[in-house]
């Protein structure tokens, strides 16, 4: 299996993919393929060069990764897994702290360290890169450049850790989705199943609500409440048509074929403009490898 992640080597997406693979069938038979941006990971799935993609979805400091949400709606993909990675951003450079003129990172990396950057590097130029590891790779070129990226990226590209733990909150986690082309879902799941049995599941859907029905969100939540389905996340995203039109990304506990879930989905479909089923997947359980 080819697994597509945000590259180059040393990215948090790579860490997420390895963490998700750990303990799975033929864990070491799978190869990683690295892409320049999240959109390309999604596109690689449609072009058949990659079987599985691992993409960041939400971060505990900065919230949703907009491009991932947009692509989940746009592309014909299914979610077969999730994993949560501990993020520990460091300031990396081959130069000295006092010489830093340019700091590079993924927009999420910069945002997760906003306070730190404002306090310690006010006025320093900030450049965005496709990933934190790409920032580290670029920072090898000039001593006045620093990257916000992981310790692994420092090792990978031979940079010094000028300041560890530069994120605005000590606790920093990113949740990743494991995605596959919808039509290959069952085939891939059968190959790459976990060796241990996983019992708890989560399901993710996307619903479109138009402005003309302000009570629709309440009606949807009522369906879940009446059937005792636990929501674990609800996230709104503009529909891009007009201010006030939203798409909601909803995660809840349970498996798509459970009777209560089936009933809720059936009822919700009649209340919304559009419902996209992303799929059911084993719930992430924090283990010793995830910290």
């Amino acid at each position: 299996m080819n697994i597509g992640v945000l590259g180059p080597k040393g990215s948090y997406s790579e860490k997420a993919a390895k963490q998700w693979l750990a303990g799975r069938n033929n864990e070491n038979d799978h190869s990683l393929e690295y892409f320049d941006d999240i959109q390309d990971v999604f596109s690689s799935l449609s072009s058949d060069s990659v079987d599985i993609g691992v993409v960041p979805l939400e971060n505990s400091i900065e919230g949703s990764v907009g491009v991932s949400l947009d692509m989940l709606l746009e592309k014909d993909v299914a979610v077969i897994g999730e994993t949560v990675v501990t993020i520990e951003h460091c300031l990396l450079s081959r130069g000295k702290k006092e010489d830093i003129k340019i700091i590079l990172s993924h927009p999420q990396g910069l945002a997760q360290c906003r306070q730190f950057l404002k306090e310690h590097f006010e006025g320093v130029e900030l450049r965005t890169t496709g990933s934190t590891s790409h920032a580290a790779k670029l920072a090898t070129e000039f001593p006045e450049m620093a990257a916000i990226a992981s310790k692994e990226a420092a090792r990978m590209y031979g940079l010094d850790i000028l300041i560890p733990n530069v994120q605005d909150r000590r606790q920093n986690h990113t949740r990743f989705f494991v995605i596959v082309p919808s039509e290959k879902k069952e085939h891939i799941e059968s190959i790459i199943h976990a060796n241990s049995e996983e019992h708890e599941y989560k399901t993710s859907i996307i619903v479109y609500l138009d402005r003309d029905r302000p009570g629709a969100l309440y009606e949807i939540l009522a369906e879940f409440a009446q059937k005792s389905i636990n929501l674990t996340r609800i996230e709104s995203r503009p529909s891009k048509e007009a201010l006030g039109d939203y798409v909601f990304y909803i995660d809840f506990e349970g498996y798509i074929n459970d009777a209560n879930i089936k009933g809720a989905i059936y009822n919700i479909e009649s209340k919304v403009g559009m419902l996209k089923m992303l799929g059911s997947y084993p719930k992430f359980i924090p283990g010793p490898t995830s910290n």
Copy 2:
């Protein structure tokens, strides 16, 4: 009155402030003060140098402006108004299209033009600035730099519009909040009231829900539904403590002293970990100046 906005001159925040001021009492007696970033606009209110701030809240393509949401929760401010500005990003430079090596803009500007940048400028270096107008100002320095900013910024800084309308969707709007220090709210409102009577109001609140009560959001929405209060927006944002803990930003129609609103707020307060009342303000009505 001093009104703080994201600067330098030519920013969409400036446009928003002027649009909101239009038709108000002593419309021309107020002066604008320009700040480097959104956080500084909020801080200027606590330091007494500025009376009113105008800050971007959400965009119809890219969604919420994270830093504004965070600051609304953190700082002791009240919302006294909203306005919606039509955004029309252009690619500006003093050089030629084929020579562009670096593109600068606010992270929201880059995100709103993601598709355009990928299609036409793949691999070109992207740099973030504190505002779109700051990007335009910087782009005057080198012909191989371009900024994503407004037509007004092109005029202001003498740049050419290389490509108009570069955002990924033709329709592009940003909603701004007009904020004041909480303790000065009534005083400022009495000075700067609108000349025409405004009848329709909206109210904004922030509530914190902890993970242990997955049904709490439903109970909140039930309060609104039972009292026939129309929600106009609901937005989740990580609480920054842990994945799965959210703060919800909720906007609805009505005035804080209306009996049904008072009742709903009273009931909701008993169901949530924290409720912050941001205030009631006249609903934005699109006029001839706002497109």
